[in-house]
Structures are given as C-alpha cells and as structure tokens.
Amino acid sequence: MRLGSGVFAACCVVIQVLGVAVFLRGFFPVSLRPVSQVQPQPPAPEPAAGTSSNWTQLPPAIFRKVIIMLVDALRDDFVFGSKGVQFMPYTKYLMEKGFAHNFIAEAKPPTVTMPRIKALMTGSIPGFIDVVMNFNSPVLLEDNLIGQAKAAGKRVIFYGDDTWIKLFPKHFVEYDGTTSFFVPDFKEVDDNVTRHLDTVLKREDWDILILHYLGLDHIGHLTGPHSSLIGPKLKEMDYILKKIHISLLSKEKEASLPHLLVLCGDHGMSEAGGHGASSVEEVSTPLLLISSAFHRKMGNLQPPKHVQQTDLAATLAVGLGLPIPKNSVGSILYPVVEKRTMREQLRFLHLNSVQLSRLLQENVPMYEKDPGFQQFKVSEKLHGNWIKLYLEGNNSEVLLNLGKKVLKQYLDALKTLSMSLSKQVAQYDMYSMMVGAIIVLEITILLLLSTPKALCQNAAFEIPLSSSSFSLLFYLMVLILSAVHVIICTSAERTCFLCSISWLMAVGVMMLISALLCVIVALLTKTFENVRPSAQNLAASSSGWSELDLLILFGTLGHVLSLGASSFIEEEHQTWYFLINTLCLALGHEVFRNHFLGKDLDHNLAVEQNIKKNAKNVLQYKNDYVDVPETSKIYKASSSMELLPKVYEKWLQLASPWFILICCRLLRTLNQTGVQWAHRLDFGHWLTRGIIEARFVYVFVLGILFTGIKDLLKSQIIFADVSIKSLGLWDIYNGLVLLAALLLRPHNLPVLVFSLLIQAVMTKFIWKPLKHDAAQVTIMHYWFGQAFFYFQGNSNNIATLDISAGFVGLESFIEVPALFLTVFATYIGPILWAIHLLSFLSSENNRSSAISHASFCYALICSIPVSAYIILVTSLRYHLFIWSVFSPKLLYEGVHLFITATICVFFIVMDQTNLIKP
C-alpha cells in the first residue's frame, strides 16, 4: 500500500492517541476501592476477656448539633499566622480562651475542591482522576458521613458550593448551591450563603449544618494570597464565625449536649494564588474544633498539631454517634474525646481501629504482618483485660494506669494503621497500561523506521500492510495475544478495563497490535536488505549535518531524557527556554556565517582565498595602524554604495536572532511558572494591578487587530496569484489569533503580541533567506510552540490550568464548549505555531512535499516524548511524586498528543485539497 508520509503520520498519531487513551484508562483507575454496597454491619462489641461485655451498641453522640464552616482555600497562616492575628480576632480569642482545639490538617494532592470534599466526608484519599471528574462531579457512592447521618435520621442542611449537591443529591433536607465557576465574583457568592444564617440559627429542626464559602478561593485565583482583598474577606469569615458561635452558646444553656463548630479549609493556596499541586502552602489547612465541651487551660496556646485531613471524618462520626465511614483511613482526633470517661475513650478508639484493620484486611493480602495490625491485636487484648477488671468493679489506681497504657497502645496502633493505609495508593490496571504502552511504542518505532523514506523527495513510500497482515506471523500473534487476554481476564481478581469491554473490541485491539508488529518486522527486514547499498549514503549524509541539525537532535534527546527527573518536569519551561535560546544563538551564528563568510566555505576555494586576501589586507591595515573595525566599516561602506537596501536588510537579519532572544527574556519574566523560582515577582502581576491593565488591554488588542489586518492585506496582495488556499489559511490563523486574544488573561496578551512578532521576524529574516528545509522549520516551530506554552504561564501542574477561559461568553457551565475553550486557551502556543507553520509552508509553495514532510516531522517529534514518558511513568509508578508531579504531566502529554493528532489531520486535509485543486 502506497501512502504519502503526511497521511501515514496522521494515521499513526491517531492510533497513538488510542493507545495513550488505553494507557490512561489503566493508569487512572476510576474507582479506587471496589464500591460494594454498604451493608450496615453491627458495630464491633467491646472486647472483654472471658466475660462478654454488655455494651454492644454504638456509643451515643457527644455533640448535639454540628456546624461545619468550610472556607475554600483557607491556608493555615490565614488563621494561625500574622494575618489571623490581624484579621480574625474572634477566632484568636477562642483559641486563647481554650474553647478550640486547633490543628493543621494536611490535605493530600490533588488539592482541588471535589477530591477534598470527598476526603473530608469519606475519610478516604480520592484518586487523581477525581481532578478530571471535578468538572463533572458524579454522585458519591462510597460510604460517607452524610449518607450515614441521613440513614441515622439526622437532618442535614447545606449552603454553599454546588459541588456538594452534585455529590450528595438527595441527602440534604434543605440546600442552596452557589456556583464556583464565576471566579471574578467574590462577594455575592458568600452573601448567598450568609443570607440563610439568621433564620437557620434560630430554628431547631436540623442536626448538621454545612456552610461552604468560596469567596476566598476566588480572591486567591484572581489576586493571590497577599492581595489587599484577603484581609476584609478573613474579617468577614471571622464575623460569621462569631455570629454562629454566639448563637450556639445561647442555645446551649437549655440543651443537654454541647454543640460543635468546625472551621476548616479544603485546601490551601499557593504563593501564586492557585491550588492543585503539593506545595506546603497548598496542603496545609487549618482545622479548628470549637465547643464548650473543651476546656483547655488558658494561656498555654500551643502551636497547632499536624494531623491528616481524613481524620475529620472519623472524628465527626464518633462525635455524632455514627459508624465511621467504611473506607476512612483517618484516626480520631484524640483531644476531642479526651474529656470523656476512660471506658468511652477506649470504646471510641477500639471502634476506629476495628474499622481501620477491616480496611487493611480488604486491601492488603499480607495484613497480618503489618505492624499496625499487630499493635491493634495487642491493644485489643489489653483492652479486654481492662474491661474485665472494670466490670469486676475494680476502681483502683491499677485500673487507671492500665487504662492509660491501653490508650497509648491504641493511639500508636491507629497512627501506624492510618499511615500504612494512606500509602495504599490506587492499584494500577497493569494489563491496560501494558497494552496502551505497546501500541504507543510500536507507533513510535514505526515512525522512526520510516523517517529516512518519509523525508525523501517524493514524500511517499510503500507500507507493507497487505502482505504482512495476511502472513503467518500475524495470525500467530493474534492467536497468542487472544489466549493471553483470556488467561489474564479469567485469572485477574481485580477488574480491568480491557476485560470489561466487549470481546470483539478486545480482539480488534489484539489485531491492531499484531498488525503493527508485522509491519515493523517487514520494514525492518526491508531496511536490513537495503542496508549495504545505503550505508555509504548514510555516512555521507551524516557528515553533512549542520550544527543546527545536531542541536535539534540533541535538544530533542535531552528533553526526552530530562522527563525522567521530577524536578525537570516541574521546571520543564526552563528546558524549553534553554533550548530556544540555544536555537536562537545557533541561528544567529548561521546568519552571521552566511553573511560574512559566504555559504559554502568548505569546498569553495575561491572564497577561502578571498578571505585570506582579506586577512592579508587586514594585516596590512594593521601594520599601518588603522583600526580593524574601521577597515570593515570602509569595506562595508564601499559595498553599501551599490546595495544600500540589501545591507540594511542584512543588518536586520543579523539583529533578528538577538531581537528574538530579548523578546524571549522579557516573556520569561511575565509568568514565573514552576516550583523553585515561583517566588520571583511576576511581571504579569504588576500588569494586572491597577488601571494600567485596562489600557494595556486596549493597546494590545488594537495592535493584534492591526497585525491581523496587515497579514490579511499582505496575503491578498502578495499571494493572491499563488492560490486561494494560503489566503484561507492566513484567515484561519488570524481568526485563531483573535480567539486567543479573547481567551487569554489580560496580562498574557504581550505573549500573543510577541509570538506574532517573533513569527514575523523569523519568517522574514531567517527561514526565507537561509532556506531551511521543511523538517528544520517544523521542529523550530514545535520548539517555539512548546516555549510559548510555558511563556503563557502554564506548567506541568494542574494548579495553573486556567479554567476561567472556558467561561468566556457563556452564561453557565456547558460542558462541550467550555472544555473546548479551556483546551484551546491552554494550548494556544503550540496550536498557533502549528497553524503558522502550515500557512508559512503553503505560502512558500516551493515544494509540494513540504507539508507532508512537516506533518510527518510534527507527528514524530510529538510521539517520541510521549512514548518515552509512558515507559518512564510505568517504571516510576511507585515514585513518591507520582501523583503530584508525574501524573499531571501525563495528562498534559495525553492532551498534547490529541491536539497533535488533530493538527496532523488538519495538515493532510489541507494537503489533499492542494493536490486536488491544481
């Protein structure tokens, strides 16, 4: 089968996208633990040695009413730090008076709202894929606190972020949701919660009240944690807390049981104002438990203890007299129960550790060897002894001491159990991962093998598809793989994705894999047959590699290798800035050589002699004490007499790489992404402050419009005779530029302007005069596209994802356009550069095969990092940073590959119309 290299590349990338999708499906298992229907188990009875205890029921509730005040993005220093002292006086007063237990609760990444709500309410650690599901939150099926409360007949009222309502659609007796997607709104969104407070606090018909305030998070997203807006917002929160607390206190006088007021944050806020990653600022949230049941000694305000966010679920369950959620990995916050009697305390801790050890039994096959489990067994036995002594009526010092010992044992056991359960991250679906990785790898190898042929003059080559797909090898492979599939699916105890799809599709996947393998084998044998005649050819071609080619090769390889280190992934923008800087310097060198030393110095003896003559001249001049720069000036002046505009252009050409370098240096200061240098002041933040912003926006929009119109006119005047297609392409390009201008944040508009400027300069002064071939131009476009991805402020981290772009011009959240707009806004850099590449190549129109070469190169250079990264991630899947660093990058790579596939398809569609039309 004969295929053009562009079509071939597009097909390959589309198949590769499928492979990556399968891999991702295996890498991010949707449900962490099997969601079996919760059968209400009888609570574990109190252990007792010999005699059976008379206390088999759940212990009664400690608190009558619980109010959870959740402030989105409340960072620990907003309450415990200097900001807390300044802006939250009442909270400070409560802490000092000893009415509150204060903790710093550590949230697990991803620090995004929905997984955090799940963690708070179920006590489990949600998987990374919940971030993606964050935009489309499904009903929470796992055993959770709200479900337990509803089953126990408690009445729950909720006001705040409507994520809760999606998670718990039928659980609240009364609710009012606010949407979290209109980020610029930070007053109404909180007023809509607060307006219900007065009436609700007067009423008696509820048991749990949950308030979720979003304003602080919005302020953080827009202006960062040091903005002047933070203070008033914290004051507002403090005022609300005071109101709730006073009303609770007034009610308590007639009530038998105390109330509990919980102030917590779901996640923190990074120094840039976003959240999602795992920096200390993002994972540290305050957790305040306020109740009149707590009496600590006044004055000794201890620094808050570090606990896990998941501990809250267990604590609240115990506090409300509910069973602890089944999948909770948290342990009770001991200070909450320390005022109860010893028997009750032990009972609570026992219930908690029974629940944890059950969870351990379900998840770890070798649970008996777990130190936590062993500790639990020991303490349960001791507990039994204590109960026996207690029931016998022994009331001496011995009982108290033994009780204290048991307590300590339990607390240690809980800590160890909780730790070892937290380490139990999601189980990977290795089978799907393997299948996906194999497809991706096969495609990359196929692309690499066909590179020499695909980049030849006619850009078309023979694919041995039909011959290889009917060979014996193919049938054999299909049979073997199907057998393996059946064996794996029948023996696997865990559900895996490939086994759950229909067998026809599974066989299709197997056929795809074996067909690709057969094609690779056929191509390999073909190249080995031809290797002898082409060996000399290859040697000749490798010696003809310029510095630019070497740089491109080593840059690509270096980037792929750098993906193995988590720091390099966090700071990937540095890699790209470094590479394009070097590229610009190399281009500068090339331009310089091109102008001063002639083109083919190596073989052109005449030029060499000429230069020697020059050198001799210089020597003479030197001997006559004439400055060398002056001689060159004279030399240039004499030549400029003849070709004045040409010299002018020459200097422009010489200056252009330096100009680009300066542009890039300016852009780099605009958005500090990454981790290590994130504290450096963003130039962009300076732009968003004050009124200057608006003026800048107008100036830049006008500038972009002007460039767009100029481009359009230029294409009409210059290229009208060439073809209408290139005009259309420039139109598309301009349309995309305008869309980008609409979607980008105001302070990012300079990125767009500089991108257009650099494209214009490169086209005019570098690519056209130096006559780079399509492959080189493509790879340069790719590099610049990647660099602009980071110039725009993106990083390999979910926190920098700008979701507000998805709501430009939309009344409410509509999934498809919002998703499209968000993806486009994120990948503006690569997309614009790719479309520019297409328009540039089609308007150049020097060779018909240029576009298919470009498409092939683009596919190749995108698929190499993806396949290398997939192998790396598979081998590093138990790395400490797998969820915080490697997984987000994997998602970014997957989306990038998808975009590449779209671009490649677009390329070949353009190329085909070109072939048909003339």
Binding site: L597, I611, V628, R665
Partner: protein, 268 residues
C-alpha cells in the same frame, strides 16, 4: 619560528616572581621546567618533526595550564582563611581567572606560536595591548548579556553573573587574543570549518568550544531539587566551564596527534 634562548626565559620568570610574590614561585619554577623541556624540540624544525615538536610543546603547555588550575583550588587556602572553592566561590573565580590569564599571556609570549609582524614598535605594541584589553572587556559584557538572556537574574546576583562572564572570556577570548591578536578577521577565519592554519588554531577551536559547551552543560543541574551547595548560581556553570576548558586542553593535543596525517595546513 623564533627560538628563545634560556636567558630570556629566566628574566621573564624573574619578573613573574617579582610581580606575583612568593605564592607564585612554584608556578614560576614549573614554567621554567616546562620551557626547558620544550626547548630541544623547538630546535628541530624540519619537515614532519616540526609538527611533532609543535604537538609536544602544545601538550606541555596545556598540561601546565591544567596543573595551574588545579593548584588554584588549594594553594590559596594557605594564604586565605576559610578558602574553599564552593563557599568562597567568587574569590576562587577571581584567583582562577587571574591565574589562567597570566599563565596564558606568559606562556604564549614565551612559546610564540604565531610570530607577529616584524615591524613592531613600542607604540604598536601598546596599541595592541590596549585594543586587546578593550576586546576582552567587550567579550565579558557580551557573555554577560548572553547569560542574562539565558535567564540569569538581571539585577540581583549581578557580580556573580559578571564573574562567570569574566571566567568564560578568560577561557575563550583571552587565548584568542594571545594567539591571534585583536584581529576580528583572523578570529572569523579560525572559527570557520577549515579555517585553521596551525595546530595552535586547532587547539584554540577545541578549547573554546569545549569551555562554552561545558558552561552550557553546567546549567543543567540547576533546576534539580537536590539542594547541594554547588547548585547555587553560578557555581555549576563556572565549574562546568572550567572542566570543559580542562577537558579541551587535554583533548586537543590528543586529537591533533591522532589526526596529524589529515591535518595539512596551507602556508601562511
């Protein structure tokens, strides 16, 4: 090719000792030793032996440079308190670039691989010297600009960045100035593909390229979160440049020796 008599060497060596003081006595002695070692080869100038002798001279000169760079890492600790390459990096940078500069100038004046034009008056020499200084300063500024363009902070850590530029210029521009003089055309000739006219030009190409590449590679560990003292700006880059320079010094005689059959230089 001008052959130096031992007398010249001695006077130059003595001057060296007077200027630098006792700390450099060891270096001066080494200098004398290297020179005497290289003398017998300089006398035989016929045919292919000349090239071999040149290569040997090149080798000794380079070895001397390497030894002196190594010495700068621990000799100053006898005279300065708390001296270490990593902690007092800037001091080391100054010492190292000074030392390399002096050794380069002295050695190339001694060895004189490219005899300068015959008509050389005092005035001419002074103008050449001044021009060389200006060129060196310009190259420092240029390197500084390039480093800033690569992402070094613009205002803070200016001194560090500038000293990095200085040591890079010492490794690259200074040998060019010594060998080729302040002569842009000659530089352009040497740094084109087949532009070398002697083994000195070849070694110049190799050492310059390797120091620049070393500095380039030295930037790689900076983003890693290992929190090592040598990851602080600009230590890894300067160390990279230094190692690159030393590697170039070692590689160039070996490379020239291995390719001596292929290297045919047209007569100047």
């Amino acid at each position: 090719m001008k052959i130096l008599r031992p007398k010249d060497v001695k006077t130059k060596g003595m001057r060296q000792i007077n200027v630098r003081g006792g700390s450099q006595r060891v270096l001066a002695l080494c200098l004398l030793f290297v020179h005497f070692e290289s003398l017998p080869y300089g006398e035989r100038l016929q045919g292919s032996t000349m090239k071999d002798a040149d290569i040997k001279r090149l080798f000794y000169v380079h070895i001397f440079c390497i030894v002196s760079i190594i010495l700068t890492t621990f000799i100053p600790s006898f005279f300065l308190e708390d001296f270490s390459v990593l902690e007092t990096h800037l001091t080391w940078l100054c010492i190292c670039s000074m030392c390399v500069a002096i050794i380069n100038v002295v050695l190339y004046l001694q060895v004189k691989p490219n005899p300068s034009s015959k008509r050389s008056s005092i005035f001419h020499k002074i103008s050449r010297l001044l021009k060389s200084c200006v060129y060196f300063f310009i190259s420092c500024l240029l390197f500084h600009a390039i480093i800033v363009l690569y992402g070094a902070p613009l205002i803070e850590l200016m001194l560090e960045t500038f000293l990095f530029a200085v040591i890079l210029s010492t490794f690259t521009t200074l040998p060019c100035l010594c060998l080729l003089g302040p002569n842009i055309k000659a530089w352009l000739r040497v740094f084109t593909r087949n532009g070398a006219t002697s083994i000195w030009d070849n070694s110049l190409q190799i050492t310059t390229m390797s120091s620049v590449i070393g500095a380039w590679l030295g930037a790689f560990p900076i983003p890693l979160d290992w929190e090592r003292p040598w990851q602080v700006w600009p230590i890894s880059c300067t160390l990279g440049a230094t190692f690159g320079y030393m590697a170039g010094l070692l590689i160039s005689p070996v490379w020239i020796y291995r390719n001596r059959k292929q290297l045919t230089y047209k007569s100047r």
